[in-house]
Symmetry: D2
Subunit: 397 residues, 4 copies
């Protein structure tokens, strides 16, 4: 039975502690919403996902957001893990986005495809220990270094797939921030690393003579927040996509010359640097968000994942070497939302669902981002940026 008690005049949302993930409870909550706000959740209540399967992904479930998916591709990738032609499901409500990525994919494919590779991977949890003074904090840091094997054992005792790679240390006054870096298999790993690091911290507290106080996050992880430390030291996967754009193909498909692109690049890099941007390219966030929603990634990670460094060179023959490096791509092929109904289907379209596929998926993400960079950067210069949005992005009465 739905539990709609009122406490202190506060009307509570219906729940059933014994089994909250049923069609009935979802319907009861939609009815509750209608009663409280007058809004009938007709479309929200239309779904094919089984409520029983969303346990672990949501609380107070009452239906779904239907986010339109468009298909882009094929995109030719010559990656370390992703190889071949890919059709990419992108969930978005921003008109023009799919069309724009699509034409970038064509350009890249006609230029011989995209090379991709994951160059580094680390997922973090970063507790902070509070010592009596800076000298003790330094000595504590040395103590931690010396006990790395024990600490690693304590951390890894909590997880099958997580492995502690190294502990970065950062001192401020009497504080010692320890940034635990893990590999996390096919999962994104935020929960796994939280649990493992808690075990490690408890081991430290139990074994260090001072039994120092700690906080499980000192805010340098930096979870769900862009930061310079993540750009530098990688969070999730550090992935590179690179391609050599044919001068002829760029002119034919985008109406822009490679010289012009490179000239403009100097100007955009100066601007990005001046304003302290998280990304000196165009719009990695667009493609990543659309893929993240479609494939059940934790979409809030776009805050971190959208950071990027573009590096390009104009080649002597007029072709254009273009690379993009994503230093904080947090993705999973397993766990989280990846197993839900539509999300799993979309991962399967990419051949990326389940164990052993996370690097392949990361590579596809980076390749898609590069496609979007070529398309938008060209549109800005060719003058069809505004006109295409006018044509494809009209969505008001």
């Amino acid at each position: 039975m739905a539990d709609t008690t009122t406490t202190n005049g506060r009307v509570r949302i219906p729940r059933d502690p014994s089994d909250d993930y049923t069609q009935e409870l979802a319907a009861a909550r939609r009815a509750f919403v209608q009663e409280r706000t007058g809004t009938e959740l007709r479309h929200v209540g239309h779904y094919s996902v089984d409520p029983a399967t969303v346990q672990g992904n949501i609380e107070n479930f009452l239906g779904v957001a239907q986010v339109p998916i468009g298909l882009a591709g094929p995109l030719h990738i010559n990656g370390e893990h992703a190889r071949g032609e890919f059709y990419v499901p992108m969930a978005t409500t921003e008109g023009t986005l799919v069309a724009s990525y699509n034409r970038g994919m064509r350009l890249l494919s006609e230029s011989g495809g995209v090379r991709t590779t994951v160059v580094e991977e680390h997922m973090q949890r970063a507790p902070v220990f509070v010592l009596d003074d800076a000298l003790e904090a330094r000595e504590f840091g040395n103590w931690v270094d010396e006990r790395f094997a024990d600490i690693k054992a304590a951390a890894e005792s909590t997880t099958r797939s997580g492995q502690l790679s190294y502990i970065g240390q950062y001192s401020i006054g009497p504080l010692r921030y320890l940034r635990f870096n893990y590999t996390t298999g096919d999962a994104a790993g935020q929960n796994m690393t939280g649990k493992a690091t808690l075990a490690a911290c408890e081991w430290i507290r139990a074994n260090h003579p001072a039994s120092p106080r700690y906080i499980l996050s000192g805010n340098i992880d930096t979870d769900k927040k862009h930061s310079r430390i993540n750009m530098l030291l990688t969070r999730g996967k550090r992935v590179v996509a690179e391609a050599t754009i044919k001068k002829e193909a760029l002119q034919r498909l985008m109406g822009v010359d490679t010289e012009t692109l490179f000239w403009a690049r100097q100007i955009q890099m100066a601007g990005s640097f001046l304003v302290g941007s998280a990304n000196n390219g165009a719009h990695a966030a667009n493609g990543l968000t659309a893929m993240f929603i479609a494939t059940g990634q934790d979409v809030a990670n776009v805050s971190e994942a959208h950071a990027a460094v573009s590096y390009t060179q104009l080649l002597p023959n007029g072709d254009y070497y273009w690379s993009i490096t994503l230093p904080a791509l947090i993705v999973a092929s397993y766990g989280g939302g990846t197993g839900l109904a539509t999300q799993r289907e979309c991962l399967e379209v990419l051949g990326c669902y389940g164990s052993g596929n996370v690097h392949k998926f990361a590579e596809i993400c980076a390749a898609v981002v590069l496609a979007g960079e070529t398309s938008l950067s060209s549109a800005v210069l060719a003058g069809d940026w505004v006109s295409s949005h006018d044509q494809l992005g009209r969505n008001r009465p």
Copy 2:
């Protein structure tokens, strides 16, 4: 008829230029996917949204992502525009998230509610003009200042709701970056400001003696990218949510003392500052992303919107003043994806669909973020962060 031609060995996605937004075309594309990849898009093909309505929001539509929505609330808000008890639909696949925000809402409500207000609003497009040297660039800037009225007229001729507030100017070498700042009514306004600024730039080119070359974006907008300029000068809405947390309520509901929270706050601010974080708080991205997906916002804007500055003080009576300032909250109550089937319903639940509601919606967003800050910050200190994820976030076989 669907158009599945092959060009240069490239198999193209089915399209029908005459009417691409139909059930048939969507089905044809799902069939195409199945043929090319072997994946049947059964769940993706299950939706109630009418394909005809997604024109302007997506291209190559083939179905939807079903993202689970959970309900949180009530949240008591004493805002300038948002007033009363709100139940908040949150679309996410991250277990624990809804539950955590929910308990934060309870704490805030029991502490007398959240005050909210939009303190500033600006949406930008930032072209760059290329002059012969720095001196000419400076003089060009003066010329622009003197013609502000004409430039404003040119820009506003393209839009009903956009208004040009001011043009920020930034010099690098011979380059003059002009950052056009607009109010954009109830729309987020990226397209509107692009179109208006294009008109303004064309006016400038036609009227300035040097007819200088320009690029419509010099990358300091900074669209879909976190940046320091956005934090400083606002992008979208700058919104503040603030509350005075009762010492007693925090202890009772969260198991933490306000003194402990403030002590930890010093440590977390030091950490955030050290690592160059976009946000010195906990996790604004989580709540914003869930609300953005549910309500049809452009979710890629989380890259910008997640930036925040928390400012708190421990009061003499032991209560805890807590504010969060979101300097780059990009939201709409109209246009974009807000009118789609489930998205509109969710906006209506908040009483925020359509004209005249964007400030109310922005205030609710900020209040929700504050709720999440109180909950996570407390969980980290009370030691139930990991255990609650273990209990609510298990989502693997």
Copy 3:
């Protein structure tokens, strides 16, 4: 008589409140040092500056640091204010520095000289007002905008040469940071703006109904600290130096090709962006520090002044356009240390001492920085960076 009393066992430095700026007191303090530390200040006590003239520049004067000055030049400048051939006194103890800048000056001079101009100027003091909540803070901001004329009058009543240009406003929670921007004539202006802003704040407090509490600096000035806001909005002078380097001259004098320089530039910009550098060029700090020490500038301002944005393009004919923009060059031709004995002489060598010369001096600074950029960037590529330091920078037994 020197006053060397002991308080609480604390031996105090000799002082004479009636006339502390004499040879006798300086000698007494040197004697005190010798007595307390055993160090005879023979060289420190050797100076020609009259102790009476350092009042207002130093307290507890006991002698001078003799910092070696080397001469570089001539540097050909075609500036807005600086025009002709300049010989530049540089005070440093870093071997190779003068030689390196000197060869850069030759390259620039042989390439037709440097164009320079001051494109913007603002000196700041940034108080913060504390209101009851964010809404009041916003309304307070509007109130300030409406009273700008009165506030300006209050501020300018304290100074002959300072003029209030505009007040930037930044909101965080209930706080309203007001960033007062002034022009300050030929002075650097930190004290002048402090005094003027204090008067303005007192006027505000006296006239605003809430009589709000304020702090004269909320740390966003940001005095003596590099910051992004200073790079964006200028602190002191924003100065540009630009030149077109002849391909032939670069090869002949530096042993490097312009193509190689531009190729390397892409790599260095990527690196600078990645690591969050205050300057995407080579080493503005070196030249500026040497000039600041020689000419009596407040050398601590190097912390801010060293920020820079380099913007370059390889021209079709193989020549190399090179600009450097210094967004926070804080300099004076009058006041501060500029009137002291050696400092004034060095300013006079540049024709920059006294009223009306600060823009000229700022332009020379920027031109010198550009010279240093060309020399070091070339040395890194030509392979003589290490060897030249080995040859010129050996300074140990």
Copy 4:
């Protein structure tokens, strides 16, 4: 004989390649300046330093800048290396500075003194290797890791005191930035690390199968430039100074309450974070610059050294714990300008000249910075900031 030839109409500064460091050449250059600019360098030509001793520190020597030195102290330090009462020579032309630091020293001394310690040390040179693509760059990185012992041997073959600690690696596209981290004994070490890293890079080029191209600095060192990577990973010494300020002493000496200081601290931290400041404290640059000039440090390093993180807590008894962490303090007790006439004397006053003293000197620097923080922060709140500058900083007719 002085060589004043004219090349291409360019009048060259007199030099004597056979022996350029003599009184005669210095005088010839002063005469040359007078002839070219009309300025007699009377005071610049007054010095006691022997021209022969400045070889390796300067080129084209013609005299000295006489920078006034004031004495502050005593400052009681309970450091790891610096212990006892110190009198500090500070070279500056900014009135009030010495007085302000002096009263901060008194406050700290009366509060029991300052604890100081060096918690980390690294000096860097950061070459970048250019590979064919990202995958090769990653594999190259692994190759480097595996040959660390050989690379270390190659690097250390060039230096007696430098030791290679570790090589940080950072990937962008096909680029692999290697950040060599050294300890450098009592020297600052920029030249030493440049030379050692050159040798290491040459070893790599000779031994790696691809013999990859490299640039000796990819601009992530980041030499003479503030950067986030330096704050995070330390450049030079990472030094902490900490003290517990007595509530009573602060009130008595500064006229401010510790509660007020802590309240204001929250506001200043919010401001610093918002604007992207290199330092969330007050003005480390002032004290460091004055000490650097006095003691022959490379003053341009103030650009990096002024970065700081303040971390404070109000204690239950009302006392105020205050720490400052300098993450990039680049100092030497030997080499560079430390051995020059006045510079050496000033180091000797602190008992810091020569081998084995660099940690002691670093600790004193940090303690002095903390003294300045307490004094200025209090002055801003007590309202005597402007009045004291008005009293002590008047230096114009």
